[in-house]
Symmetry: C2
Subunit: 478 residues, 2 copies
């Protein structure tokens, strides 16, 4: 009886951390691996040889997903050093698990042939995914290497857009006929000898590939071998179309606790299946995109991108921000006369603008979230605006009142305090109203509400805040 070897998540974490540590703390390790230095040129040959041996052992021991994560965590040069140690038959899997930024770095050194060789070990759907998304376009070469019948099927799948079920589905499905017994199914499976990953069910199809039902592995095990497939199969399974949105499919997987599900075409023929591992990737990617979008950074930016690349990926948001700040600045400039009469206005105006931006962003975050969770229906649009404006009114009166009081006390000017309070209330109302309208309008126009909403609301609350405050001051104080 064998004893369980320790393979805990924690131990794997430690091995990854150790590998990163070895590669980043001593520059000589990377240099030697890249062939820039020979062992003989080193100061402390013994230690270095030990370190390099340990790096090799760790790379050999860690599975591809861990290697991909390690590559992700390394700067460019160390990435290349590590990549050289990854064995040929694991390279495809490592590439598949790594992200765009890692691809950019590693693909540089590889010829088209190298890349296609690395992909050989992968399933055809995984190969398609990679050739379509790698920074170099290898689609043609991949297609040329396939047998004619497969090429037709691959061509068909290739035109599904990113973020659809069709783009992430797998072809590896096991199908059975409805009129055989479970005993026959078991013999068939033993003959097959293996199943694709994440197979929790087989698909029951007719001769023309029409999906008739699903047969869970557990159903095969729980029922007598004499029963027929058609008697025990699930006849109302959840199915997807290749055109369905991948993020929505993920929500359905979560809702129904699915491990895999069939993808069928418009006439009900089985095309492939969706599996939970792809779905989990979709969920993480969705998160990541929302975070990036709200923070104004693009998909190509990561902590290891070069300075040049980071500048390139961020300049657009900065330019937009500069434009909106410039407009706000022109609004202030229009009130130059007012400010020169009462310089205190210059120090108070950022408070009005700032609190508006804060409120607007709170509202937008909540709405973007609710849109993602599909919690907003056409019926509650008006109600939402009124609620947000109610919240803004109360906050405006309370905090505006406090700031108004402080202003009155600081400058000994009751009218100035009153203007301060009124401006805060008005700007909060504008912020909350626009915080609802902007993301909902963007959704209606078919755009991602997370991208740019925050920049727009800040532009509006800044410009609006300055205009309201300085405008009121011009009317009531001069």
């Amino acid at each position: 009886m064998s004893v369980l070897k320790k393979n805990s998540a924690r131990q794997r974490d430690q091995e990854r951390a150790r590998l990163i540590w070895l590669l980043t703390t001593d520059k000589a390790v990377t240099s030697t691996l890249l062939g820039k230095l020979t062992l003989a040129e080193q100061y402390d040959v013994g230690t270095l040889a030990d370190d390099i041996a340990e790096v090799g052992a760790l790379v050999a021991h860690l599975p591809p997903p861990d290697l991909a994560d390690t590559l992700e965590a390394l700067p460019s040069e160390e990435r290349h050093a590590l990549w050289r140690l990854v064995q040929d038959h694991e390279r495809g899997q490592v590439l598949l698990e790594a992200s765009e930024n890692v691809w950019d770095d590693l693909i540089d050194e590889m010829s088209d042939r190298d890349i296609l060789d690395a992909l050989q070990t992968l399933d055809i759907d995984e190969q398609i995914y990679l050739v379509q998304h790698l920074p170099r376009n290898l689609t043609g070469r991949l297609l040329a290497s396939l047998p004619a019948d497969e090429r037709a099927r691959v061509r068909q799948v290739m035109h599904y857009e990113k973020n659809t079920v069709g783009a992430i589905m797998e072809f590896g499905v096991i199908t059975v006929r409805p009129d055989v017994t479970l005993g026959t199914v078991q013999r068939y499976l033993r003959r097959l000898g293996s199943m694709p990953d994440n197979t929790d069910k087989l698909f029951v199809t007719s001769r023309d590939k029409t999906l008739l039902g699903e047969l869970e592995l557990k159903t095969i095990l729980l029922n007598s071998t004499q029963r027929r497939v058609s008697e025990v199969m699930e006849t109302e399974p959840m199915v997807f179309s290749p055109e369905d949105d991948a993020e929505k499919a993920a929500r359905t997987f979560e809702r129904d606790d699915l491990v895999s599900a069939a993808v069928v075409d418009s006439v009900g023929k089985l095309m492939g299946r969706l599996t939970i591992d792809e779905i989990v990737d979709v969920v993480y990617e969705e998160t990541d995109n929302d975070l990036r979008a709200l923070g104004g950074i693009s998909a190509e930016d990561d902590v290891h991108a070069s300075v040049g690349k980071a500048v390139k990926t961020r300049w657009a948001w900065l330019a937009i921000n500069l434009c909106t700040a410039f407009i706000a600045s022109r609004v202030i400039d229009g009130f130059e006369h007012t400010i020169s009469q009462l310089v205190a206005l210059a120090s108070l105006m950022p408070i009005v603008a700032g609190i508006g931006g804060n409120t607007g962003n709170q509202t937008i975050t909540m709405i973007v979230r609710a849109l993602a969770l599909e919690n907003i229906q056409p019926g509650n649009f008006t109600w939402l605006i009124f609620r947000e404006m109610g919240v803004a009114l109360i906050n405006g009166l309370v905090w505006g009142g406090i700031m108004g009081g402080i202003t009155w006390w600081l400058y000994d000017d009751m009218a100035l305090g009153g203007v301060m309070m009124l401006a805060m209330v008005l700007n909060l109302l504008v912020a909350s109203m626009m915080g609802v309208i902007i993301p909902l309008t963007m959704t209606k126009l078919g755009r991602d509400p997370a991208v740019g909403s925050s920049v727009m609301i800040t532009a509006i609350t800044d410009t609006g805040g300055f205009f309201i405050f300085l405008g009121l001051a011009t009317i009531f104080l001069l």
Copy 2:
């Protein structure tokens, strides 16, 4: 041979949308369901009766997760109306799938007895989860209702903290001995008659519950019934401890494409298992928390919370924001003399502050993301700061140069243009440096880097921007 009934994700979406539509467009439907109106009092009895019948049919047809999502999307009153239609035996499952905000609303109307009855249909781990997190504390009453031996186990599990593996693990596991044949395992499973959801593997244990290996369902089906469990079991499975962090466990599930995994105690005894459905929930919750944290809204806020509740959950961030804005305002006030000499400064200063806030937030978003993905190692801290400052320097020189030029042209004052450019460069450098330091420091102090980072960076770039710009102007322009 039965024909596949349509049960596509799209159709289910439509049914949920229809249910929400029926409940929200005609107030009379909700009022009637809540017993506030009788049918006789209605204007158009025929249509109303039809609508109510359709609502009933939809509720009967939709499974609990869809009902939970529908409740989520409804305002308070409609929630109650719908809840009354949910059948007793489904209530526990619906509660389990719903979120805190829904609980708050629905629990009001229910007695302790009602709630415990609703929980009866759930597994014991699910019951524990709910009694611990429902807004009313029912832990004592649940414990009292359990048999003595189960009570001890439940007590033990209850003290695992939220966000640990222990808090989300399930007790429902099937164990087998290593020395039996696969044929015996199959007979045993048929006698059991059912398996817990998401069972893709059985756990092989010794008599004292020590985990020896895992036996995948697929292994049972692919091998001859004569083989022994010990010959075909996986002896190096990925295992978790109950103290492990749930979000980290989720990353491991993603990395290794797991569907379920064993949870073992410190001496290797099997305690329970983690399943992919809980993991997917963890991932969605993680996303949600990060989004909320960056947007400055708390977990209790949702689009259907009342105005009072929304005010309460948001006031803290507003107060903090107001304090920081007030400090920035005092910095400006300190330069009152400078501004009164050159009013143009008042309209230019928000540009310097704004661009700094934008850059700082870009950096923070990237760092928070990289921390979540564990892409930042102690080794690359210095490198990161230098990279971000390099990016800031380039952006500062380019955009600062452009803004400086525009300022020179607008005000016909070269010195003012120079001050503008210099201030932008300096504020961008401060922003990028603090954008790295703040989240990393918060992580070192054991806090969530997403919470409050954004507010802090904005405070620093505002105050810093005003101080730098007005300070430079005082030195060079007066």
